[in-house]
């Protein structure tokens, strides 16, 4: 039964990520990424990484992708700019490189294919177990991420302020 779930969510993940890359409407790209993130977090739950799966769902589907949808709707991309997107110059080169990467990755994982490793460890990534490591071994990096988020906030505010100033200048001239 778990293997059935794995194949279902794996197929959903691949289809959704293809849709992210190939769909023409930017809104569909973002919504396909929501589906991809949802199936990815389901795979995390199958791997018994409950905390990380939940965080992924909350942060990505809840916050980041809402940002994306907000920006797509804000930009109000017209039909002209959308058709222009599809005139890609290095299309074949990109396809070739990604197929080459997929093949090289396949050959790189050959050793794992032969080994047939199964999950015998009994680790369960609940909030309790992950949080215990987070607040002991990883305390300094955890505190530093708060600093990183603060710096990101400063960066966004300064960028928005620059946009506000140029908007005023254009309005006056």
């Amino acid at each position: 039964m778990p293997s059935l779930f794995f194949y279902f969510f794996a197929a959903t993940l691949i289809l959704a990520s293809l849709c992210v890359v190939l769909a023409r409407n930017p809104l569909y790209n973002v919504l396909a990424l929501v589906v991809a993130i949802f199936s990815l977090s389901s795979l995390f739950v199958l791997l018994q990484a409950f905390f990380v799966g939940m965080i992924l769902l909350l942060v990505y589907a809840g916050a980041v992708l809402v940002f994306f949808i907000f920006v797509v709707m804000c930009l109000n991309l017209t039909a002209i700019s959308l058709t222009f997107v599809e005139q890609r110059r290095f299309k074949t080169l990109g396809y070739l490189s990604s197929i080459l990467f997929a093949f090289s990755f396949f050959f790189a994982t050959q050793s794992f294919l032969d080994a047939q490793l199964f999950a015998t460890s009994s680790i369960r990534g609940t909030i309790e177990t992950v949080g215990q490591i987070l607040f002991t071994d990883y305390l300094l990096p955890f505190e530093l991420t708060s600093l990183l988020l603060l710096i990101a906030l400063f960066g966004i505010v300064s960028l928005a302020q620059g946009a506000l100033n140029t908007g005023k200048e254009e309005g006056q001239s």
């Binding site: 890359v21 991809a36 791997l47 905390f51 299309k91 990755f105």
Partner: protein, 100 residues
């Protein structure tokens, strides 16, 4: 029971699709979305290795990757909005000059 190689192959496939998106799309928004796919694929590898090695450190790295990705996306989208205001397009090819 699913073996480790299934997870790794899935992660590699999603990573290849992400590379396809980064290299072929000309819209900056789509490139940013494909970057998210790349991060998601590597996260899957981390969690799979964490489970199969019986080591929690992989899951903690995924936690930090998600945090950094959130900050990266916020700044990237701010830059995209600025670019649209100045150039009224989000094509990567239009970014020809280093100075605004």
């Amino acid at each position: 029971m699913i073996a480790l190689d299934h997870y790794l192959l899935l992660s590699g496939l999603v990573f290849a699709i992400g590379i396809l998106g980064v290299t072929t799309s000309r819209s900056v928004l789509k490139i940013l979305l494909s970057l998210e796919l790349l991060l998601a694929a590597s996260n899957l590898s981390f969690v799979a290795f964490s489970k199969f090695n019986g080591d929690y450190n992989g899951q903690l790295i995924v936690f930090f990757v998600i945090l950094v990705a959130a900050a990266e996306v916020a700044i990237g989208l701010a830059i995209i909005v600025l670019m649209y205001q100045r150039l009224s397009t989000i094509q990567a090819d239009e970014l020809k000059e280093m100075k605004w």
